[in-house]
């Protein structure tokens, strides 16, 4: 599109790479059908209760009035800012505390000498990913309960028992701890794969030069998987506004709403508990979330490109 000679125009590019085009068709179609076409639905956020059950989609749409009521409701709620805050705090805590752990785990697993043991460890740490949150929260409710092992150890050391699951000060930490317990193993897959594909010649050369294990990890493994780490981080930042609905919903109780309620659970409470057909409000929140996430992802990618030269695009 640029007119400079060293840059190709869109037409030139199309001509040059035409043999590659058929390969992207399925992906483009997929995105069109499942991602772009449904975007028309965003209009529901600006409509006053269209009756989709009674009328055809277009008829229901044209019958209902345009409105900004959903956005007014969303932004006039004094609590919403607090819940956006909770969402961001929990998300940032998850990224800062949990993001490095799968990388470390992946390095540790790949450094294991016994292949059998390495496979066993991988299997065990993947396992929690496949449990549902309701089950996991049930287990941890007991572990952190008034009569559970944590409090038993605590009272043996002379501390007063704490109802961890019902303490506003604890809930965010528990969200991070449980999330880590469940997902670290599974998140490490991408890094393990990246480490496996590093050229072994690099390590041999390093050994000959007298580099120890830690030096090898620091100077070869980490730099080699850095692009993977960056991509994962940027993708992760895109989900900043989603602090894990399913997990938080299962963990929350009245006493921890103050510090634990996130946007996802709040909107669920607002709209869906009524079992009504009011999709407008949740669509409005979805749109708001989407816009913020897009900005975050663009920002993260920009910074990463500036600083490290790696980016998603």
């Amino acid at each position: 599109m640029s007119s400079r000679k060293n840059k190709l125009t869109l037409v030139d590019k199309t001509k040059k790479y035409k043999s590659l085009i058929p390969f992207v068709i399925p992906a483009v179609l997929f995105a069109l059908v499942f991602s772009y076409l449904p975007m028309v639905g965003i209009l529901i956020a600006f409509k006053d209760h269209p009756n989709f059950l009674r009328y055809e989609v277009f008829e229901a749409f044209s019958k209902s009035k345009w409105t900004l009521a959903n956005f007014e409701k969303l932004f006039s709620d004094p609590d919403i800012l607090k819940y956006i805050g909770n969402t961001l705090i929990i998300s940032v805590m998850k990224i800062v505390i949990l993001f490095p752990l799968p990388v470390i785990l992946a390095v540790m697993i790949t450094e294991l000498r016994s292949k059998k043991f390495s496979k066993l460890v991988q299997g065990l740490v993947f396992l929690p990913h496949f449990f549902s949150w309701v089950v996991i929260v049930g287990i941890f409710n007991n572990i952190f309960g008034m009569y559970g092992p944590i409090n038993n150890i605590g009272s043996a050391l002379g501390m007063d028992p704490v109802h961890f699951m019902g303490e506003p000060g604890w809930v965010r930490w528990l969200v991070v701890i449980l999330s880590g317990w469940k997902e670290i193993g599974y998140s490490s897959i991408a890094y393990i794969a990246a480490i496996m594909s590093i050229d072994p010649a690099l390590y041999e050369a390093a050994k000959i030069d007298g580099a120890g294990k830690f030096k090898q990890i620091w100077k070869i493994t980490i730099p080699s998987i850095m692009p993977t780490i960056i991509v994962m981080l940027i993708i992760r930042i895109g989900y900043l506004m989603d602090a894990g609905f399913e997990q938080v919903y299962a963990m929350l109780n009245p006493n921890t709403l103050e510090t634990g309620e996130i946007i996802g659970t709040y909107v669920y409470r607002l709209g869906f508990l009524a079992g009504s057909t009011d999709y407008g409000l949740s669509t409005a929140v979805g749109l708001f979330n989407g816009v913020i996430s897009l900005l975050l992802i663009l920002g993260a990618n920009y910074i990463s490109k500036k600083k490290t030269g790696n980016g998603v695009w």
Binding site: V33, G166, P254, R269, L273
Partner: protein, 527 residues
Amino acid sequence: MKKILSVLLLIAMLLTGTVALTACGNKNSGGDEINMDIDLSQKIDLKVLIPYSGKSIEEVNSNTNAKLIEELTGYKVTYTQLPASDASGTLNTEFMSETPYNLIKLTKDQFSDLVKDDLLVDITDALEKFAPDILANISEESWEVVTVDGRIYGIPERASSDNIENPIVLNYDLMMQLNLDVPETLEEFEAVLKAMTEELGAPALTFDKYTPLIHTVSAAFGIHSFWQEYEIDGKKEVRFYMNAPRYEEYIAYMNSLYNKGYIDVEVSTNDASNAVNRFVNGFKGGSGAKAGAYACSLWTVSSIVTSLQSNDVISKEEAAGELDDYLCYLRALKENADAPEKVYRSSGYSYVTAIPFYMAENAGYALDWMNSKIKDTEGEDNFRQIVLGEEGTHWQKTSEGGYMPINPAFAEKDDAHIFLNGTNENKYTDYWLARVRKQPELFRAWSELMEDADEVGVYNLADFTPPLGDYNVYRSSVEEYAQTQFYIMLKEGTGNLSTILNQLNNAKGCAKATEDINNWYKDSYKK
């Protein structure tokens, strides 16, 4: 090669377009009128959508009760059920795709939503022609619940029995050891909790996370049900319980019990099984989670008995009888010994069966089928057969004329309720009691709680409302908010009550809902 590719691409694009368009179109425009001239001797196959039954749909369709109904009515029926979670979401999709269900069994909330959106068939005129027995055996009061602007949109299914069913169950064994009398007033209750707490070494009172109103306690403050009439400055009006004149006192009392260490710290995270375990552990020695009093539902008694037996507190023989040495039931506390006793009595409509608008044409068959199920006369006792089964096989008469189940054959009838669409209100309560008689301790509890029920019982007015605009929109958010705030104030006291009430009445819509329910109460409620 290039050509083939572009042709393929074009086809793919066209397909996408068609799929997108057909997904939007296809709403049925005809068939919205009931055909009154159908020939009922030429029966058609019916499709019925029911709420989640707890069983697989194959089990539902092959259930003995389903077979029995097919024999009795002559209609072949296929049942489909909604999923356990997000039932309303699935229900919406079924409507959007116009899945051909002749009948849909709905909760009252779902019914209200669907009526509001004009999705159900007006069956007022068809009832007389196709369902005379339904008309005769469902009360005027019940029809009110499904009537909007004078027209009827569904068949109401009244709760089996108006029970007093929210007691605090006490560990009577422990009370006898400590020489405690059954408490009647708030003060005596606190003394009992204090003594129990000291003996157990753990907070004496437990309940689960879904119990925002401890009916036994709130009764002493004049609060009995979620929505009831209060006299305020000489004026009578209906209010939600959080707006009751003495709600603050109720919270302050509960908060003081909590602060003194008599209430389980984990109530906000307890599920029912935790609470049962704690209560049963109170009968055993040792350390750990224990409680001596449990604010529960009458229906928990069965699991308490089972759990007492499996923990070897009672023997199998004892579990098969009455347990008056172990359990006692407290239905309402009083402010002082002379105050009259009043307590919440449940009622209402578990389900409403309705016909989706696009299936109006064959509504006659569906009504005829339901009508046939509800018939219960000397010659044709279909309803009794469905609910109770055969005399001598499933049940026998007791000396007082009640129905006594015969085990194990009666177990077949445990699932009969899944297949009901409206009940024969003249008979159902008597039949239903057979279920309570199945366990002697449950029957004892029920009988004790139900003593003078007509004098002491206070109903929840919301149990009798027809679909009411704002009330239906806000009810669940109001109740959800009230529940949340109870567990917060239980710990923190009433300091923020005015802010909380302000939030409840404005942001959560309680003021609007209250206005709606008051208008209805003044204009149409006739009880």
